[in-house]
């Protein structure tokens, strides 16, 4: 049965084991396909180029260090967002399961709100509406654009982590709770010492899928002008005299970078998912 709550879980999380089995040979073909796109677009673009300019491979080679530097920004932004999102999402997920409705209701509301909201809108809200510095007394703490973007990505990450935690905790058999109770564990002790340690294994694969999605979304920061790979790609294009035939190769370059990064992660996730598969 599909409830409103379920409808927002990530597609990657809900992929069944059957779908994951065929992933092994998939990535290799995927990379091959991207390389074909890259080579074809480079070759075709080259035929339209006006003579007197540097060739496309020369241009790419010249700017590759800067583009990869931009890619590093994407990785930093996504890692920080995921760290903040996890730190906030873990308690939020546990609060959702609280027996006290004064705690669980607001936690559920916050989770649903940030899961339903489009990521781009949340990013806009954070970048445009957060202050550019905080003042504590005479101390001024600057709050640059990239830090706002981190918050913008951390909010949906938080809500999704909360759902992952809730799902994992609920998937622990109730016998665990009952036996802990019979051993005089308090609710808090049961959660911290018995339930959560068992959840880590269940949470890891969907958590990694989420990380992968956040990394993919980190390029959205270019829309609001934060420096990262896509922003730098546009700048590189301008620096090379805005030659239109450079666009396809430049964008395929970043597609390939993301693919090469995401490939080991999805492979590892798939491995973990098989390894930790809950036996039914």
């Amino acid at each position: 049965m599909l409830r409103l709550r379920d409808a927002f879980s990530l597609p990657l999380v809900s992929a069944s084991e059957g779908a994951l089995r065929s992933w092994r040979r998939t990535e290799r073909t995927g990379l091959a396909l991207l390389l074909v796109v890259f080579v074809c677009s480079t070759a075709y673009s080259a035929t339209t180029a006006v003579s007197g300019h540097d060739s496309i491979p020369t241009v790419l080679w010249r700017w590759a260090p800067l583009l990869l530097w931009g890619f590093l920004f994407n990785l930093i932004i996504s890692a920080l967002s995921m760290a903040v999102g996890t730190a906030a999402g873990l308690p939020l997920g546990i609060f959702q399961l609280s027996p006290n409705p004064l705690v669980s209701r607001p936690a559920k509301l916050v989770t649903q709100f940030f899961r339903n909201a489009p990521w781009l809108v949340l990013l806009f809200i954070c970048v445009l509406l957060l202050p550019f510095e905080f003042r504590i007394g005479t101390l001024r703490i600057p709050f640059p654009d990239w830090a706002k973007a981190v918050i913008g990505f951390a909010l949906p990450a938080m809500a999704n982590v909360a759902e992952i935690v809730r799902g994992a905790v609920q998937s622990v058999p109730s016998g665990q709770w009952e036996s802990a109770e019979s051993l005089c564990f308090s609710r808090r002790q049961t959660m911290m010492q018995i339930i959560l340690p068992q959840c880590i294994k269940r949470m890891l694969p969907p958590w990694m899928n989420l990380y992968s999605l956040i990394t993919m979304s980190s390029v959205n920061a270019s829309v609001v002008g934060v420096t990262e790979m896509l922003t730098i790609t546009t700048q590189v294009h301008a620096a090379e005299g805005s030659r239109p035939e450079l666009l396809a190769p430049l964008y395929s370059f970043s597609l390939i970078c993301f693919f090469l990064y995401s490939y080991p992660i999805s492979k590892w996730t798939e491995y973990l998912e098989r390894k930790y598969q809950v036996k039914e």
Partner: protein, 253 residues
Amino acid sequence: MQPIYDWFRAFYERTGINLTFIYDSFDRARMIKGFWLTIELSVVTIVISILIGVFGAWLQGSRFTFVRRVVDGFISAFRNTPPLVQIYFFYFGLGYLLPRVMDPATGAMAPVVTNFQWAILSLSLFAGAFNIEIFRSGIEAVPKSMREAAESLGYTRGQIYLYVVLPLAVRNCLPALGNNLVNLVKTTNLAYAIAVPELMYVSKEIWSDATNVREMMLTLLIIYILLVAILVAGLNRLERALRIPGYIHAGGN
């Protein structure tokens, strides 16, 4: 309607909450246009992505290894790259490589494929890649005994697929499909990046003119959440209507 507009104008003067898209006729027209464009974008991409999903899942059952490989490659290429870069690649990269034609309406040279069409294409391919996996796992989740039972009743291969496997597979994959379609509706605002005048884009235009960023942001959030809620309600109804008593589907949660 005029009293309502006047009320909102007075509301702005009283409270400073500036909802221009209600009382200002120009902004209202833009907003409504953007809203319908978002709906159009969502509906068209949902339909095309489902078609891609069904077709791709069918191709994945192909006897030829090469065809299966290409479909697999397509899936992994689209799943492991950022959708925004995909849109840029299609619109700026491939858009440049296509010839330009004379637009009969204006007489100027225009691209063969407009930005709206590129947005539809790239978003459909992105969501379609996920849909293929979803449909395929739905088909795989149909118990083997069902096929065997149908076979023993004298059904042909085609009949088994049409009357037994497909109806059950659709029910198996509805929850996952719902997730993906909801995500697709939430992702349509990436078309903003290539200047498709959908909801996000017109909102930005309005807040640039009227400097009512907060109000527009909140409105955007509310509209998107409502759209998603409508989609989810529809999917719930569909799921209830299709439910077979006693059949517990495998992939569902």
